[in-house]
């Protein structure tokens, strides 16, 4: 779930969010949407934040509803929210593996198949412990996904990529990154400088590149070594 709040300072906005949603500080993530510094002595100062949090049962329902048209527009089978059951040996193996690993980690989860595409298999986790299963910036979910993919690679004729998701985290993260790309892109355009983003995995970097690909004056480039490179967004000047 994402909801926006406003306050004179970032802290004010967060306080407003905590009060309105009744959440503890560790139960949500805050993203700053905009800051207005306006006015003498910052009198009209305002900070707008977006609060990301795991919805409760009923709020998740409404979220699903509002998400549905957009996903259908994308022509993806992911829109169907129902859980599918594993059919092939390969699907059973992946579902069993993820189920057992989460159980042995001490965070037992209900694991089901969320979508099937020619080269992709979507796996959904439902658990009381989604926060820790996701981890900081999706670290734990990515680690488990990587292992599930290694396992999938052991099935000789399967060139299928396994995608793990829980409580719509991947979609949320995607939106967050697109927003970030636009925000930093605008900044760079204004200052005519460049900015280095935090380290990201290949999928996330690609999302930044493609988001800013069509925007004039702005270029993107990956820097660094290894799996987690950093994207630099820079001003290119008009051509």
């Amino acid at each position: 779930m994402v909801q926006e709040f406003e306050g004179r300072t970032e802290q004010d906005a967060i306080d407003a969010a905590v009060e309105a949603l009744g959440l503890e500080a560790h139960e949500f993530e805050v993203e700053i949407v905009s800051t207005r510094s306006g006015g003498l002595f910052g009198r009209n100062k305002a900070v707008r934040i977006a609060v990301h949090y795991a919805g409760t049962e009923d709020s998740r329902e409404t979220e699903k509803k509002s998400d549905a048209p957009r996903q259908r527009a994308a022509g993806s089978t992911r829109a169907t929210g129902e859980a599918l059951h594993p059919e092939t040996d390969f699907e059973h193996a992946v579902v069993d593996f993820v189920t057992t690993v989460t159980e042995k980690m001490g965070f037992p989860s209900k694991v089901s198949i969320s979508f099937r595409e020619p080269q992709k298999l979507g796996i959904r986790l439902e658990s009381e412990h989604t926060n820790i299963l996701i981890g900081r910036k999706g670290k734990n979910l990515d680690a488990l996904q990587l292992l599930a993919n290694v396992l999938s690679g052991r099935f000789v004729d399967s060139e299928i990529k396994v995608i793990l998701d829980t409580e719509g985290y991947r979609g949320r993260r995607e939106e967050q990154l697109i927003q970030l790309a636009h925000k930093v892109g605008d900044q760079v355009k204004r200052t005519r400088g460049s900015k280095l983003l935090e380290p990201m995995n290949p999928f996330e970097r690609r999302l930044i590149h493609t988001t800013l690909n069509d925007i004039a004056d702005i270029g993107t480039e990956s820097e660094g070594e290894g799996l987690y490179k950093q994207v630099r967004i820079f001003y290119r000047g008009s051509k």
Partner: protein
Amino acid sequence: MERDLVEYIAKALVDEPDAVVVNQIEGEKSTILELKVNPDDIGKVIGKHGRIAKSIRTLLSAASTGTGKRVVLEILD
């Protein structure tokens, strides 16, 4: 518990699951897990640039949050 986790993952990834052995060494502030696999399988638990080993370590540290004890995974060759 963490020992089981490592053993299960390793067995799922190697060609010789019977050769997988995990030793647990309890220290005061940390637990050391020594993973031993068939020499031909060692690449399967380490991966390119240590990606698989890194993922196993990530899941281990997630599993051990709250226990107050660090878990260290060592892969023996």
